[in-house]
Every structure is written in C-alpha cells, then in structure tokens.
C-alpha cells in the first residue's frame, strides 16, 4: 500500500514530528517501499494463530507493594532543559 505526502503529514502530526514538505515527499516514497515489503505479510495464512508478544510467552511479573525508590527529583531535574521551583517548564498552555 502506497502513502502520499499528505498521509505522511498526518502521521507526522500524530507522532508529534515536525516535517518539511520536501522531507514528507521523500518520506512518502521510502515509506511506500517499506509498506510494500511488509505487505508480503498479507499472503500468510494466520487463521487461528495467537499473536505472540513475548518470545517465551512470559506474563507480566508483579512485585510486592513496597516502597523501593527514594526521591531523586533534584538529580533527575538537573538535566531538564528548563525547571523552576521543582517543576518542569513548558510554554504557556492555558491563557
């Protein structure tokens, strides 16, 4: 299945990726090649096959409900692009 530039622009919006019209046009071509490759899956007979999420079919392990992490806010925020009073700063959301 082929995709065009406007499809790529919609996907880029969903993925929160800025993409120029030229890059979207180039991506439409290369992603169409990838989709042609993965289109080969449609020919496989998978009726009755359970989808496989973990190679060993392991299930999510649960741990005891105990506090294991200590507060590391200041060391984790030390690498943030912008913080103030222990909060992460982003452009104003509510006017």
């Amino acid at each position: 299945m082929a995709v065009d530039q406007s499809d790529i622009e919609k996907l880029a919006e969903l993925a929160r990726l800025e993409i120029s019209p030229e890059a979207a046009s180039a991506a439409a071509q290369s992603i169409s090649q990838v989709l042609e490759l993965v289109g080969q899956l449609q020919a496989a007979d998978t009726s009755g096959v359970t989808p496989m999420a973990h190679p060993l079919d392991a299930v999510q392990r649960l741990r005891a409900d105990e506090v294991t992490e200590t507060d590391q806010r200041s060391s984790l925020q030390a690498m943030a692009p912008a913080i103030e009073d222990g909060l992460y700063l982003v452009p104003r959301v509510v006017e």
Binding site: L11, A27, I31, V34, T46, T50, M52, L76, P81
Partner: protein, 484 residues
Amino acid sequence: MHTKTIAQLVSGLRSKAFSSVELTRHYLDRINSLDSKYNSFVTVTDDIALAQAEAADQRLAAGDASPLCGIPIAHKDIFCTLGVRTSCGSKMLDNFIAPYDATIVENYQRAGAVMLGKTNMDEFAMGSSNETSYYGPVKNPWNTQCVPGGSSGGSAAAVAALLAPAATASDTGGSIRQPAALCGLTGIKPTYGRVSRWGMIAFASSLDQAGTLTHTAEDAAIMLNAMASFDAKDSTCVDQPLEDYTAPLGDKLDGLTLGIPEEYFGEGLNPQTAERVQAAIKVYESLGAKVKAISLPHTHLAVPAYYVIAPAECSANLSRFDGVRYGYRCAEPKDLADLYKRSRGEAFGDEVKRRILVGTYALSAGYYDAYYNKAQQVRRLIKQDFVEAFKDVDVIVGPTAPNPAFEFGAKGDDPVAMYLEDIYTIATNLAGLPGLSIPCGLVDNKPVGLQLIGNYFAESRLLNAAHQFQLATDFHQQLAPETA
C-alpha cells in the same frame, strides 16, 4: 598487550606481567592516537578508566578471583553510565548525562572490569551500517572505505582495531551478529530475557537483547558470565539459573547435530560467502558433528514482520523524547505542540523518523489488525519453525549476513535494500533465540561470518560449538590490516 585475548590478559594480570593501570593506559593511548581513523568511540573516559584500574590492581593484589578484574572494556553508547554522557548515537541525547548505571554496567563494575569509554552506533540502534549516527559513520578496520555493520558498529570496530579487548553491544535484529561478521569477530546475542535490559535505551522492547563482541568464543563466555543476571528491574528478564559458560568449553562435538536451513542459502546470498560457510560446515563434520538439511518455511516473512513490530515498538518507546524532561529542546517554542514537534523534528535523524512514522501507521486506527496483529501472528509461525527444527537438531548453522562489508553509501536511499542485510539474523530476534557469529574466512580481504543459532538458553552449547571451531581453525586470529 593489545593482541592478547581476554583469557591471555587474565593470566598476564595474575602473573604480574603487567598491571591493570599499565594495560588500561596502553589501550587509552591506542584509542587516543588511532581512533581518528575509525571513529569508533563517542566518549573516552580516561579518568574513570584509570581510577577503576587502580582499584582493580588493589583487588588483584588482595587475591580477587573475578576473571574480568582489571580488564578494560568498552560499552556501546546505548547503555546508561552514571555521570557519563549516554548519547545513543543521537542529537536528541547529545547532552544527556545518565543519572544511573545500566544493570549490565553495574555487573561489569562488580566484576572489576575497567570502562574505557562509550562506542559509536547507529542512531537509537536503527541501522545496519553505522551510517545513521549523529557522530558520523564508523569505518571498518578491515577496509576503511567500507561500513563496519550496525548498529553496534563502534563496538565492533573498536575490538577489531584492537582498541579494546571486548565491548558490550545490543541486538534487536542483528546488531551484534552482523557487525561481528563484517569485522571478523565473535558476537553473541543471548536468549531474550537472559540479560537485563534495565538502563539499555529501548528501541523495540520485545526484541532488544544485550550481548558482547570479542575475538574469541572463550572471551565471549568470560564476558557473558559477568553480563547475564536475573534483574527484577527488567520485567521481561527471565528468572533462569545462571551458569558458568566457560565450563563446557572442553566438550567434544561428537554426536552434535547441525541443521542447515535451505532458506538461508537461496537467492540474495553472495556465492563466495556461501562457499566460506559451506567450508565451515565441512570443518564441523571433521570435528564429529552430523549435518542435517532442515527447512524454516516462514523465513521469507521474517523481515516483513520485523519491519512492522520493530517500528511499532520504536514509535511507542521514542515518544518519551519530548523536549521537556531531558534531551534536546528546540529554541523558542511558540507553544507546547511546537515544542514537541520541533524538538523531535530537529533532533531525530531520517531513519529514526522513518521508523517512527511506519510504526505510527501500523498502530493507527483501522490498520492495527492488518499490520501489527498480523505481524505478531506471523512471529509465532516463525518461532514454531524453530521449535520444530530443534526437535531434530542441536544447533542451526548458516551465514550471518548475505554479503561482506559494503562501501559507504552503497545502499543509497533504498531502506529496504539495507533492511535485507539482516535477513538471516532477524528471525532469531523474533523467536527470542540465542545467536552467535564467528569468523569463517575472507572474501575480497573482508571477513565472512558463520551464524550459529541455538535453542532457548543454549548459550553454553553455542559457545562451545564456536570454541571447538576456533580450536580447529585460525580465522578468529586473523587481524585487520595495520592494527597489530
């Protein structure tokens, strides 16, 4: 010192032929004087290395029994290292100083290993040629016009150029085994869940697994002994008893049955690569192994299934990079959406963007069943092929990569041509099986890799099969030109 294997360096340290500080200085000098030719390191950690080496020398003097005590190694820059930049080959994390150590990094520290630095890689481990790194391509020490393979190209080039005796690496679709093949090394990807993924920056979480690059299978066994552990912090880590991978290295191969999958010798395989692989199978027969033709009938669907599952998981994993908490942030965002979009748009490279977009497509409303669910069903068919095969054979043998190292730019703008370089390695990740690549000769003076695939948790058997081959051949002792 730099032509010695880890096993030989262990004896040298114990016999006091040299100290860990001397050994570490020697490797740091080599990196600092020679790596401009290869670009295999992103960060060299001289001060940390020397401090760790001094501590190792004290441990050695006190009679420490850990084989890796005092041995310098390099870490792929996908593993978080406390206080040291962990870039994952991306502009996104160029300024990221990790606030904690990956479990495997801790494991090696506990074993007394010395960290020389962090190695270059394809951006977020997405690539088969190391051409997608923000820090520029890595050059293959065998031929600097050619790629080292990827995504663990920096780790492979560093070991092949004798800038480190061993390096850590990670493998989502072949990223340890394919660079091992292209650089003439021994590379092992263990069973999914054998090694902790905690602190290894996630690409495709159901496929990612850490492993090692070394010159010999014996060194791989020593390295894997320290790397493997059960880790409650990785929810997919498997609680399986640990074993000593060096213990079975003396076992003979009499009675071992090798399966040769017909699908791994079809169209697309370089004829000279095929000859080297067939000759290696003859070596195994001379060592007492039996050979049996087998079929893995869904092999042709492995690359298509992978290029749905890996991008889908990548698009979810990489959504955490938002320009808010860490990593790159664009200048003067006009609103929150602009902050997200431009931070990601400016900091991710083309291949990473391509995979995020493909993954977003495969997971989007209306396409989920046709793509993602279908790929997960095909994944089970691929696993079933292996389960059936391992009822009759002990180890599956074939080529690691269809071609020896190719020149920079050779795959042009065609992503599918690049993806097909991993055609023989991807199925192993989809099934979660352990795989290993060892050198089995040269084509045009470039190394060829032989791939061994084992059953779940059969790392010992794989490592011994590789070790017995290396006792009978000298391909693993051949060094890249101008490195010794």
